[in-house]
Symmetry: C2
Subunit: 135 residues, 2 copies
Protein backbone atom coordinates (compact mmCIF):
# COMPACT_ATOMS: atom_id res chain seq x y z
CA UNK A 1 0.00 0.00 0.00
CA UNK A 2 2.29 2.72 -1.30
CA UNK A 3 -0.17 5.58 -0.92
CA UNK A 4 -3.86 6.51 -1.12
CA UNK A 5 -4.25 6.44 -4.89
CA UNK A 6 -7.71 7.99 -4.74
CA UNK A 7 -10.83 8.40 -2.70
CA UNK A 8 -14.09 7.50 -4.46
CA UNK A 9 -17.18 9.63 -3.74
CA UNK A 10 -20.69 8.65 -4.86
CA UNK A 11 -22.66 11.56 -6.35
CA UNK A 12 -26.11 11.94 -7.89
CA UNK A 13 -25.28 14.49 -10.57
CA UNK A 14 -21.74 14.49 -11.92
CA UNK A 15 -21.87 17.95 -13.49
CA UNK A 16 -23.24 19.62 -10.34
CA UNK A 17 -20.71 17.76 -8.19
CA UNK A 18 -17.85 18.67 -10.50
CA UNK A 19 -18.70 22.33 -9.90
CA UNK A 20 -18.93 21.78 -6.12
CA UNK A 21 -15.65 19.87 -5.84
CA UNK A 22 -13.89 22.38 -8.08
CA UNK A 23 -14.79 25.01 -5.47
CA UNK A 24 -13.79 22.74 -2.60
CA UNK A 25 -10.47 21.60 -4.02
CA UNK A 26 -9.59 24.84 -5.79
CA UNK A 27 -8.90 22.98 -9.04
CA UNK A 28 -11.14 21.66 -11.84
CA UNK A 29 -11.63 17.99 -12.78
CA UNK A 30 -8.81 17.07 -15.14
CA UNK A 31 -10.62 14.19 -16.81
CA UNK A 32 -13.95 12.42 -17.11
CA UNK A 33 -14.38 8.80 -18.10
CA UNK A 34 -17.23 6.30 -18.42
CA UNK A 35 -16.68 2.72 -17.26
CA UNK A 36 -19.57 0.94 -18.99
CA UNK A 37 -18.86 -2.45 -17.34
CA UNK A 38 -19.37 -0.85 -13.89
CA UNK A 39 -22.27 1.38 -14.85
CA UNK A 40 -20.48 4.57 -13.80
CA UNK A 41 -19.38 7.92 -15.14
CA UNK A 42 -16.39 9.29 -13.27
CA UNK A 43 -14.41 12.49 -12.96
CA UNK A 44 -10.98 12.96 -11.42
CA UNK A 45 -9.41 15.78 -9.43
CA UNK A 46 -5.80 16.05 -8.28
CA UNK A 47 -4.77 16.77 -4.70
CA UNK A 48 -0.98 16.61 -4.75
CA UNK A 49 0.01 12.91 -4.93
CA UNK A 50 -3.63 11.81 -4.50
CA UNK A 51 -6.84 11.92 -6.53
CA UNK A 52 -10.51 12.38 -5.79
CA UNK A 53 -12.82 10.34 -8.03
CA UNK A 54 -16.49 11.27 -8.30
CA UNK A 55 -18.81 8.45 -9.38
CA UNK A 56 -22.26 8.82 -10.92
CA UNK A 57 -24.45 5.82 -11.79
CA UNK A 58 -25.39 5.36 -15.45
CA UNK A 59 -28.06 2.74 -14.80
CA UNK A 60 -30.22 1.57 -11.87
CA UNK A 61 -28.22 -1.68 -11.44
CA UNK A 62 -24.94 0.15 -11.01
CA UNK A 63 -23.28 -0.44 -7.61
CA UNK A 64 -23.29 3.36 -7.25
CA UNK A 65 -27.07 3.56 -7.79
CA UNK A 66 -27.55 0.99 -5.05
CA UNK A 67 -25.14 2.78 -2.74
CA UNK A 68 -26.92 6.13 -3.23
CA UNK A 69 -30.26 4.50 -2.53
CA UNK A 70 -29.00 2.97 0.73
CA UNK A 71 -26.69 5.65 2.04
CA UNK A 72 -26.98 8.81 -0.02
CA UNK A 73 -24.09 10.83 -1.37
CA UNK A 74 -20.71 10.47 0.32
CA UNK A 75 -17.42 8.61 0.49
CA UNK A 76 -17.81 5.28 -1.30
CA UNK A 77 -14.36 3.65 -1.27
CA UNK A 78 -10.67 4.15 -0.69
CA UNK A 79 -8.15 2.97 -3.25
CA UNK A 80 -4.55 2.14 -2.44
CA UNK A 81 -1.76 2.13 -4.96
CA UNK A 82 0.03 -1.22 -5.03
CA UNK A 83 3.13 -2.28 -6.94
CA UNK A 84 2.00 -5.85 -7.73
CA UNK A 85 -1.75 -6.38 -7.47
CA UNK A 86 -1.54 -10.18 -7.83
CA UNK A 87 0.94 -10.47 -4.95
CA UNK A 88 -1.09 -8.09 -2.79
CA UNK A 89 -4.33 -10.00 -3.46
CA UNK A 90 -2.63 -13.26 -2.47
CA UNK A 91 -1.21 -11.69 0.69
CA UNK A 92 -4.57 -10.27 1.78
CA UNK A 93 -6.45 -13.48 1.00
CA UNK A 94 -3.97 -15.39 3.18
CA UNK A 95 -4.58 -12.80 5.95
CA UNK A 96 -8.31 -13.59 5.87
CA UNK A 97 -9.65 -10.68 3.82
CA UNK A 98 -12.51 -11.42 1.41
CA UNK A 99 -11.77 -10.46 -2.18
CA UNK A 100 -14.68 -9.37 -4.37
CA UNK A 101 -12.68 -10.25 -7.48
CA UNK A 102 -10.77 -13.46 -8.09
CA UNK A 103 -8.57 -11.74 -10.66
CA UNK A 104 -7.88 -8.04 -11.26
CA UNK A 105 -10.18 -6.26 -13.66
CA UNK A 106 -9.71 -3.12 -15.70
CA UNK A 107 -11.02 0.00 -13.92
CA UNK A 108 -11.08 3.70 -14.71
CA UNK A 109 -7.88 5.67 -15.19
CA UNK A 110 -5.93 2.81 -16.86
CA UNK A 111 -5.73 0.71 -13.69
CA UNK A 112 -5.93 -2.95 -12.83
CA UNK A 113 -8.21 -3.07 -9.80
CA UNK A 114 -9.65 -5.45 -7.22
CA UNK A 115 -11.93 -4.84 -4.24
CA UNK A 116 -12.08 -6.19 -0.69
CA UNK A 117 -15.46 -6.85 0.88
CA UNK A 118 -16.18 -4.18 3.54
CA UNK A 119 -17.30 -6.83 6.02
CA UNK A 120 -13.73 -8.13 6.20
CA UNK A 121 -12.11 -4.68 6.29
CA UNK A 122 -13.83 -2.75 9.07
CA UNK A 123 -16.80 -1.51 7.05
CA UNK A 124 -14.49 0.09 4.49
CA UNK A 125 -14.73 -0.75 0.78
CA UNK A 126 -11.05 -1.04 -0.16
CA UNK A 127 -9.79 -0.99 -3.75
CA UNK A 128 -6.32 -2.11 -4.75
CA UNK A 129 -5.02 -0.53 -7.89
CA UNK A 130 -1.99 -0.92 -10.04
CA UNK A 131 -1.10 1.02 -13.17
CA UNK A 132 -2.11 -1.27 -16.07
CA UNK A 133 0.74 -2.40 -18.33
CA UNK A 134 0.63 -0.93 -21.86
CA UNK A 135 -1.43 -3.11 -24.22
CA UNK B 1 -5.54 21.28 -0.61
CA UNK B 2 -1.99 20.03 -0.99
CA UNK B 3 -2.75 16.34 -0.45
CA UNK B 4 -4.98 13.94 1.47
CA UNK B 5 -3.41 14.28 4.90
CA UNK B 6 -5.37 11.37 6.32
CA UNK B 7 -8.55 9.37 6.08
CA UNK B 8 -10.48 8.96 9.35
CA UNK B 9 -12.19 5.61 10.00
CA UNK B 10 -14.68 5.08 12.86
CA UNK B 11 -14.11 1.81 14.75
CA UNK B 12 -15.74 0.16 17.76
CA UNK B 13 -12.64 -1.40 19.32
CA UNK B 14 -9.33 0.32 18.68
CA UNK B 15 -7.10 -2.62 19.65
CA UNK B 16 -8.97 -5.10 17.44
CA UNK B 17 -9.01 -2.62 14.57
CA UNK B 18 -5.31 -1.87 14.98
CA UNK B 19 -4.64 -5.57 14.43
CA UNK B 20 -6.94 -5.65 11.39
CA UNK B 21 -5.49 -2.55 9.74
CA UNK B 22 -1.95 -3.72 10.44
CA UNK B 23 -2.77 -6.79 8.33
CA UNK B 24 -4.47 -4.70 5.66
CA UNK B 25 -1.79 -2.04 5.36
CA UNK B 26 1.18 -4.31 6.03
CA UNK B 27 2.50 -1.94 8.69
CA UNK B 28 1.67 -1.39 12.38
CA UNK B 29 0.15 1.76 13.88
CA UNK B 30 3.04 4.12 14.61
CA UNK B 31 1.27 6.09 17.30
CA UNK B 32 -1.82 6.24 19.49
CA UNK B 33 -3.26 9.39 20.98
CA UNK B 34 -6.31 10.41 23.02
CA UNK B 35 -8.06 13.68 22.21
CA UNK B 36 -10.12 14.19 25.37
CA UNK B 37 -11.92 17.30 24.04
CA UNK B 38 -13.32 15.25 21.13
CA UNK B 39 -14.03 12.09 23.13
CA UNK B 40 -11.82 9.92 20.92
CA UNK B 41 -8.84 7.61 21.07
CA UNK B 42 -6.96 7.47 17.80
CA UNK B 43 -4.24 5.46 16.13
CA UNK B 44 -2.24 6.35 13.03
CA UNK B 45 -0.85 4.29 10.18
CA UNK B 46 1.37 5.49 7.35
CA UNK B 47 0.65 4.84 3.70
CA UNK B 48 3.41 6.67 1.84
CA UNK B 49 2.62 10.42 1.98
CA UNK B 50 -0.79 9.73 3.58
CA UNK B 51 -2.09 8.48 6.91
CA UNK B 52 -4.98 6.36 8.05
CA UNK B 53 -6.49 7.45 11.39
CA UNK B 54 -8.66 5.03 13.35
CA UNK B 55 -11.10 6.66 15.80
CA UNK B 56 -12.73 5.00 18.80
CA UNK B 57 -15.23 6.82 21.03
CA UNK B 58 -14.29 7.26 24.69
CA UNK B 59 -17.76 8.34 25.81
CA UNK B 60 -21.36 8.06 24.54
CA UNK B 61 -21.51 11.78 23.60
CA UNK B 62 -18.49 11.54 21.34
CA UNK B 63 -19.23 12.35 17.68
CA UNK B 64 -17.73 8.94 16.89
CA UNK B 65 -20.17 7.16 19.22
CA UNK B 66 -23.05 8.89 17.44
CA UNK B 67 -21.63 8.06 14.03
CA UNK B 68 -21.23 4.36 14.92
CA UNK B 69 -24.79 4.25 16.20
CA UNK B 70 -26.15 5.77 13.00
CA UNK B 71 -23.93 4.23 10.34
CA UNK B 72 -21.72 1.54 11.86
CA UNK B 73 -18.00 1.20 11.30
CA UNK B 74 -16.50 2.79 8.19
CA UNK B 75 -14.96 5.86 6.64
CA UNK B 76 -15.81 8.89 8.79
CA UNK B 77 -13.97 11.84 7.23
CA UNK B 78 -11.31 12.96 4.82
CA UNK B 79 -8.66 15.45 5.90
CA UNK B 80 -6.76 17.67 3.49
CA UNK B 81 -3.42 19.22 4.24
CA UNK B 82 -3.52 23.00 3.84
CA UNK B 83 -0.74 25.54 4.05
CA UNK B 84 -2.75 28.30 5.74
CA UNK B 85 -5.90 27.10 7.46
CA UNK B 86 -7.23 30.61 8.16
CA UNK B 87 -6.97 31.60 4.49
CA UNK B 88 -8.52 28.31 3.36
CA UNK B 89 -11.42 28.67 5.81
CA UNK B 90 -12.10 32.20 4.53
CA UNK B 91 -11.93 31.04 0.90
CA UNK B 92 -14.35 28.14 1.49
CA UNK B 93 -16.78 30.27 3.50
CA UNK B 94 -16.87 32.77 0.64
CA UNK B 95 -17.59 29.87 -1.76
CA UNK B 96 -20.66 28.94 0.30
CA UNK B 97 -19.35 26.02 2.36
CA UNK B 98 -20.59 25.71 5.94
CA UNK B 99 -17.79 25.63 8.52
CA UNK B 100 -18.38 23.66 11.71
CA UNK B 101 -15.71 25.72 13.47
CA UNK B 102 -15.41 29.50 13.45
CA UNK B 103 -11.72 29.27 14.32
CA UNK B 104 -9.28 26.35 14.02
CA UNK B 105 -8.99 24.07 17.01
CA UNK B 106 -6.23 21.76 18.12
CA UNK B 107 -6.74 18.19 16.87
CA UNK B 108 -4.76 14.95 17.08
CA UNK B 109 -1.26 14.67 15.65
CA UNK B 110 -0.24 18.27 16.44
CA UNK B 111 -2.61 19.83 13.91
CA UNK B 112 -4.80 22.88 13.72
CA UNK B 113 -8.08 21.61 12.31
CA UNK B 114 -11.49 22.77 11.12
CA UNK B 115 -14.41 20.84 9.63
CA UNK B 116 -16.91 21.51 6.84
CA UNK B 117 -20.51 20.43 7.28
CA UNK B 118 -21.21 17.40 5.04
CA UNK B 119 -24.46 18.95 3.82
CA UNK B 120 -22.46 21.65 2.04
CA UNK B 121 -19.78 19.27 0.70
CA UNK B 122 -21.62 16.46 -1.06
CA UNK B 123 -22.26 14.32 2.01
CA UNK B 124 -18.55 14.23 2.84
CA UNK B 125 -17.23 15.34 6.24
CA UNK B 126 -14.14 17.33 5.22
CA UNK B 127 -11.39 18.31 7.65
CA UNK B 128 -8.79 20.94 6.90
CA UNK B 129 -5.53 20.52 8.75
CA UNK B 130 -2.38 22.48 9.11
CA UNK B 131 0.71 21.52 11.09
CA UNK B 132 0.41 23.50 14.36
CA UNK B 133 3.17 26.04 15.01
CA UNK B 134 5.49 25.12 17.92
CA UNK B 135 4.18 26.48 21.24
Amino acid sequence: MRKIEHLGIAVRDLEASNALFEKLLGTPAYKMEEVASEGVRTSFFKSGPNKIELLEATNPDSPIAKYLERKGEGIHHIAFDVEDIHAEMARLKAEGFILLNETPKRGADNKLVAFLHPKSSGGVLVELCQEAPAE
